[in-house]
Point group: C3
Chain length 345, copies 3
């Protein structure tokens, strides 16, 4: 963006408390990241400390007493969160508008089912035989919805996504670029010195309101379904093995892998770079810390686990502490040896 | 699917031992995952325990004495494995049939070599100048076979795969969506405060019968070849660095990374999320446990390694045990201190 | 390649010191990887040891005294590095020549800005409305430059890359296949039992001379910018979260993840499979060892860190050593117990 403090104030109906109306702003950022050319806002008491330190070009506040000594300008608005949102929406990188129709260069098979009046298919996207796409959905440039796959309503299938044959995607699902839904599960039988492929004849079923991050991969089931439960949010570069059953409203952070046939409950939170071995169960509302490696089932709901192998947070922490204090223990043993030597003399 | 117990029995020539012929089944699953709406089968004595517990809608068994007390229906068939396979093939998500020809919207360069009578090129796929594709191979929608690359016979190159210029893919190779064969190796020289690119002029050579999972990346060699040996199976999101030499019939599980110039023997098994540092050698038939991190060569064939740095399984296990017992050791030392205090009094 | 020792010598103006001019060579490789059918070179004293051991078909050397007893042929040239480079360029997999123009099957929106006389757009690539591509840049087959995105001059945007709407890529940037620039950051608010999406309205800004490896993903900012600093090189399958600020001339090796809003200094080196938690700062010239997991800021420039949680290399090493010696410590405690028992008797 390229605007002035004054232009922002007139947009959000704000009153300048301090600073220069003609100062130019070129960006917006969070309180702790805003430089002198950035607009920002103070919307939550818990960031009071950041308000004191910010060097922003303009801070929107709700109270005259909210001083920001390091900022170049401070302005009063009714609701800083809403006001800032207005500014961002006026100047930010809004997602491109939805334009229904089939773009030049897109391929929609004659036997695919979609209504060009209500679906948007980008250039060089491919919707193959027997595929169905619901109204209000957008298929990005270069994306592929393969044979017999279904995409529900109001979905955003980003560029270069692949939804493989027969897989099912619910309503209001967001798949980011590079996502692969329904590649074959990794299954082989070792026979006469070679790995013979076990056919993977199931599908992936992605529930409503799921979001899956860039380059994540969800494998199809051996038979039956790999399931991603309604409302679950998956970050980038996550790998979900065949026949996994992921519950509803889970959060799975980047670069995590879940091996085949594991069942994850509802409201489970798995932090980044974690791993879950195959054929395990994780109970509802369990939280796994970053880089956890789960190698046995967690049956009790609601706990927090950590480490590899993952254990209750306190246990893991205690052992880590003890390792740190090994130097001290060593010294105590040495001391005992000396004293015992003395004692025996 | 949507079928009845009776319909399945007539398809597989089965005899109902118990249950209701008109019961509706909507899915199939493994013995331990089958719900009341699922057909399943009992094909191997080692799952006896699961047979006792299953709550499946229908279990196919080979012997009248194989009771499944929790199942809704049990039926006798000659060979449960074959019978179940029949059911799955009738109702499962079979891969789309091979249809030779160049789809609308595909680009095949006039200087590419492929026979449209025996090769299938999907919509919006690109086969560039000098590329060659062998008979029976399928190039998926949106896939790219770049300049001078070769794809052998009977390969399945899935949608949105990239085979970069000059790389060679053998016969019967399966590349899942998003795979990248032959991106540049990561090589730079630090010079006057900047990283100067070292040109990567080699290729990747993928052997016959290799399968590579979704979004895995195999880098081209600095010069010469990065090699994936015949029959090796690679899971999703695996990264193989430049000039690696991976042996034959290896298994490399998801999210593993192998750094540049390492040599992996034949029949090596590397479990998920492992890492191998650069310029190392791993002997034939070595197994690496999940999340192993190998930082020095393993010259002895056939062992099992674990941990980071990876060590023989027993050593790693023993140390992990000792850490767990640190609390106990601490107590013993404290006790000694007390007793020694007493002893000296 | 398929050439003879003699043909190579005439190309590089070399003199045969030992071996057969008519011997056939089919490949080239580094000194330690060259087989009997490979040409190689000896260009640096530090590989003296490899020179002694090499079994190459031909070694190019700069000095008659540089014997390679295991090689089949040795030849003298003025500068082995330059000579070998000549051979490799004559026979290697050179990147395809730059041919400006819009390929058949490519889609360039009428409202995109690019000069077909100076830009190359591959088959089935898509350059969407409002996108701009600078002169000398190449957009690979199947790549997508989305609405309003900017690609600078002399860039190489490989096949199947996605540059999302509004994102900005500098000059001389290389994006390898499958890279995703500008997918949404992973941000949700938990509200009434569901995760509500926080709109991600910022962009990604990739500096000049950046290289990003296959299938790496850089998320757009919540608002403002996710920044990749000038000259930074990122390997394959790296994940950079929203609002990260990566400095200039950094090296980030494969499968590393950096969580949202972290700030990485200049000349930072992060080895493979590392992780950095969110909202942290890492000072200039810090080095992180392979698989480091950083969970608190590193404020001091130039140090080397290791482990999870990452600590100064020496501390981490020392604790690892102490764990290895636990068996010994245990024995010493047992011994003390025995002796103290004796002492008290």
């Amino acid at each position: 963006m390229n605007t002035t403090v004054g232009e922002i104030l007139s947009m959000v109906d704000g009153r300048l408390l301090r600073g220069d109306e003609s100062a130019v702003l070129t960006n917006f950022a969070a309180l702790d990241q805003a430089d002198a050319d950035c607009a920002t806002f103070y919307g939550n008491e818990k960031y009071r400390d950041q308000l004191e330190k910010t060097r922003a070009g303009l801070v929107l506040v709700a109270d005259e007493r909210h001083e920001a000594p390091g900022a170049r300008a401070v302005a009063l608005v009714a609701n800083p969160v809403i006001a800032f949102d207005l500014v961002v929406r006026a100047h930010g990188a809004l997602p491109p508008a939805f334009v229904p129709g089939i773009s030049p260069g897109a391929y929609v098979d004659p036997e695919a089912e979609l209504d060009p009046a209500t679906v948007s298919v980008g250039p060089n996207a491919s919707v193959l035989r027997g595929a169905r796409v619901g109204r209000g959905s957008r298929i990005g440039a270069g994306a592929v919805v393969a044979e017999g796959a279904r995409v529900g309503e109001d979905c955003q299938i980003a560029p270069n996504v692949t939804v493989c044959h027969g897989c099912e995607v619910g309503d209001r699902v967001i798949l980011h670029p590079g996502v692969v839904i329904g590649a074959d599960g990794f299954g082989f039988e070792f026979e006469k010195g070679r790995h013979r492929k076990i056919e993977q004849l199931g599908i992936v079923k992605v529930g409503d309101d799921v979001e899956i991050g860039a380059s994540s991969t969800i494998d199809r089931a051996r038979f039956g379904e790999t399931v991603i439960g309604e409302g679950t949010k998956i970050d980038n570069q996550v790998q979900i093995g065949h026949n996994c059953f992921i519950g509803r409203h889970c959060i799975i952070v980047a670069q995590t892998g879940i091996s085949g046939s594991s069942r994850i409950g509802d409201y489970v939170v798995i932090a980044a770079q974690s791993g879950v071995a195959g054929h395990l169960t994780i109970a509802d509302r369990v939280t796994l810390g970053g880089r956890s490696g789960v190698i046995s089932s967690i049956d009790e709901p609601g706990g927090t686990y950590f480490g590899y192998p993952a254990r209750p947070f306190k246990e893991e922490r205690r052992d880590a502490m003890r390792v740190k204090q090994l130097g001290n223990l060593l010294k105590r043993v040495k001391d005992l040896e000396t004293r015992l030597g003395d004692a025996r003399d």
